[in-house]
């Protein structure tokens, strides 16, 4: 069964169509990554799934049922903008948020998660005394404390240091192992590549990608070469067959034309500088994202 099913969903704000006849099926028990540039419609889509916005057109089903108030109890939701009552104690706040979702065994769940995140000593402290990282962990616990079957996280990793990021990532993957469906939006393509079973990309309100990472990469072919050069300063643009270079500093990601022979390209590069590594690969999600979203933004920049 699908945890979420959107058919022909459209949402407009005044003259702006934020989401345009969107179809989407999120299978149960999977990790689904929402990607897309800012303002492309990710948050609007998530808010419609949460019944915060009503679609102007189309239908949304959660676990096969039409969206209603009671259904949203089965979904945990962490919005992009975090919000906690500063004057409440950590424990009370988690009980309150869990209670609003009609969660069960809340008291023991609060202790379990606070222990897991090393926050148990802060249970009786007010939110305003927590550091930013601690607050974000509390916000995450508040989202999952009611043991929802589906968890929707809008930018769950933004602003987290690597240690806290790992803690939350592990928690998300553990929840998936327990059979929960996870949907999260992110701007971090590495995270999406590593964590998601499915990638969904929305651009200007329309769906542009919706598949497994492998299937998406297959669609874009193996026209990518990743090289590490002894002298990264050399100009590779002169080499025939290279259409685009993404310079990451130590690593350059090269896109080649369809007819180009990678072996010839390697020879040409060796003429310029010794090569420390050379890999023929499929395009990264980052590259695919940029290929879809960049032409437009470049035009906008030149406008």
């Amino acid at each position: 069964m699908n945890a979420v099913e959107l058919s022909g969903v459209t949402k407009t704000f005044g003259t702006l169509t934020a989401v345009d006849t969107l179809d989407l099926k999120v299978p149960e028990g999977r990790v689904y990554g929402f990607i897309g540039p800012n303002g492309s419609g990710k948050t609007t889509t998530l808010r419609m799934i949460m019944n915060i916005y009503f679609p102007d057109d189309g239908e949304i089903k959660i676990f096969g049922e039409p969206l209603r108030g009671a259904v949203s109890d089965r979904i945990g939701y962490m919005p992009e903008e975090r919000g906690l009552y500063k004057k409440m104690k950590v424990g009370d706040l988690l009980l309150f948020y869990g209670g609003l979702k009609n969660g069960k065994d809340l008291a023991s769940e609060v202790d379990r998660w606070l222990n897991r995140f090393d926050l148990i000593e802060w249970k009786d402290k007010k939110i305003e005394t927590l550091s930013k990282g601690m607050s974000q962990k509390v916000q995450f616990i508040a989202t999952i404390i009611s043991q929802p079957e589906m968890i929707i996280l809008d930018e769950p990793f933004s602003g987290l240091d690597p240690v806290n990021m790992d803690t939350i990532r592990e928690a998300i993957l553990d929840l998936q192992k327990e059979g929960r469906t996870i949907i999260f939006s992110t701007h971090d393509m590495n995270v999406a590549e590593r964590m998601c079973d499915y990638i969904f990309m929305i651009y200007k309100g329309k769906k542009v990608l919706d598949d497994t990472l492998e299937a998406i990469q297959d669609r874009f072919g193996d026209d990518t070469i990743r090289v590490r050069l002894t002298n990264p300063q050399v100009d590779l643009n002169r080499i025939a067959g290279i259409t685009k270079i993404n310079n990451f500093g130590q690593i350059q990601e090269i896109r080649t034309s369809e007819t180009a022979d990678p072996q010839n390209i390697l020879r040409e590069i060796l003429n310029l500088t010794p090569v420390r590594s050379f890999e023929i690969t499929r395009p990264s999600l980052h590259d695919i994202f940029v290929r879809i979203a960049a032409p437009e933004s470049m035009e906008e920049n030149h406008a």
């Binding site: 919005p79 906690l84 979702k101 916000q139």
Partner: protein
């Protein structure tokens, strides 16, 4: 409903646990009635230094009477009999011979003496004071002092001077050796409650004296209490909702609860805060009146009405505050919205006097039937000794219930959209559009 209750309980605990609530509970009534209490406490704090007054008497016979009256007063009213403490100033009256050729110069010199604190003031009694009807518009008696208009001595002088002038007029008419007190006895009209028949014995009972303070105090206290309690329960919703919106708590909550339920929860929380305040004040009032032995001034029969109107007022006005709070995008916006939102509770305060004087007038009746004003004004009118026709609170109640439903519905529509909108505060026209189009 379970979620509404959760929100209500959280808001209630958050509100009553603060020091501000407890201090406010004690301080607000003190501040509201502060001027009255101050007058009572400080009323005796009068300047008891002796007051020297000069009299310029053009009639030639009034000054002596004023001196005599002052001596009589000095003997009886200056010192408290029990303790012997001086509680009022001694009036030292002296006559000044009039220099009719240089009268203005003489008055200037007296004024200079007042400025130099050698004299407290001086009074000039004109010849025409004896027969003022010949020219009413002229000044017949003038009192000169630093703060002449508010000076107690000016008021005191009216008595002895007029008594003397009156007896002189009688003497000129040939009426002498009579008891002036008896002749000029001025009787007041005593207010009384209507006669009633005792329900048990069937005897006709004599009515009780209708005290002026009783007629005023009860309705004013009802109004003030309603005012304070509405401020306590409804107006904080504006800031509370705005803060939840700006701190992005609202979206987290809306992931679990419908906007309308969230608003209802907040209104219910506000109502609980108000009822807590009301409970404290009413218990305190019962205790205080029992201690003072004036328990019967509490109009027990209107207390249920008070609570019904209070709860409806919190929902009716609180929903408006919540809707406005949901549209505010910063603290400044919220502050500028507070005053217009307060108008429904301020207007009843402004028109208190005419309503109190004539609670049964058309003006009072119609104003108290305007739903926004009903809870406060109906309480004032019901608190007056004569009461009001029984149909009026019921009609008022129906109006308030209908208006409350309308207000909660419309506010819910605004709240639903406003709470998620960031950026500039919408105009009124846009809010009205949200009500009808969502």
């Amino acid at each position: 409903m379970h979620k509404v209750w959760k929100v209500a309980v959280r808001d209630y605990i958050a509100a009553v646990k603060t020091k501000g609530f407890i201090i406010g509970l004690a301080v607000v009534p003190v501040v509201m009635s502060g001027s009255v209490i101050a007058m009572i406490l400080l009323g005796d704090q009068v300047d008891t230094t002796d007051k020297k007054i000069a009299v310029l008497d053009h009639t030639g016979f009034v000054a002596a009477a004023v001196i005599e009256a002052a001596e009589e007063r000095n003997a009886s009213a200056v010192y408290e009999k029990k303790t012997g403490n001086k509680v009022k100033p001694v009036y030292l009256i002296e006559t000044v011979e009039i220099d009719s050729l240089n009268l203005n110069q003489q008055k200037l010199e007296l004024s200079d003496q007042v400025r130099a604190d050698e004299l407290h003031g001086f009074v000039e009694i004109f010849q025409e004071a004896l027969h003022p009807s010949q020219n009413w518009d002229d000044t017949h008696i003038a009192y000169y002092a630093k703060n002449a208009a508010l000076d107690d001595i000016r008021r005191w002088l009216i008595g002895p001077i007029n008594v003397k002038l009156r007896s002189e007029r009688l003497k000129q008419l040939g009426v002498q050796d009579i008891d002036q007190d008896e002749l000029f006895a001025w009787l007041s009209v005593e207010g009384r409650n209507l006669i009633e028949k005792d329900a048990e014995t069937g005897h006709v009972q004599d009515s009780q004296k209708s005290e002026e303070w009783h007629a005023i105090v009860v309705p004013i206290i009802m109004l003030m209490l309603m005012f304070i309690l509405i401020l306590m329960g409804a107006s904080p919703l504006l800031n509370a909702v705005m803060e939840e919106k700006l701190q992005r708590i609202a979206e987290v909550l809306l992931g679990s609860i419908q906007p309308f339920q969230l608003m209802l929860g907040k209104l219910l929380g506000g109502t609980m805060v108000t009822l807590t305040g009301a409970g404290v004040y009413i218990l305190a009032a019962i205790f205080a009146t029992m201690q003072l032995g004036i328990y019967d001034i509490i109009p027990v029969y209107i207390i249920p009405w008070f609570f019904v109107y209070l709860i409806l007022a919190i929902f009716m006005l609180g929903s408006i505050f919540a809707a406005l709070g949901s549209t505010a995008s910063d603290v400044k916006d919220a502050q500028s919205m507070t005053f217009p939102a307060m108008i429904p509770v301020l207007i009843p305060m402004f028109i208190l006097t005419p309503v109190l004087k004539e609670p049964l007038s058309d003006f009072s009746t119609w104003m108290s039937l305007v739903p926004l004003f009903t809870p406060m004004l109906m309480m004032v009118r019901m608190g007056t000794p004569q009461g009001i026709p029984m149909w009026q609170p019921w009609v008022g109640l129906v109006g308030v219930i209908l208006f409350t439903i309308l207000s909660v519905w419309a506010s819910g529509r605004i709240f639903r959209v406003g709470i998620l909108i960031q950026g500039s505060t919408p105009k009124l026209s846009k809010m009205i559009k949200w009500i009808f189009k969502g």
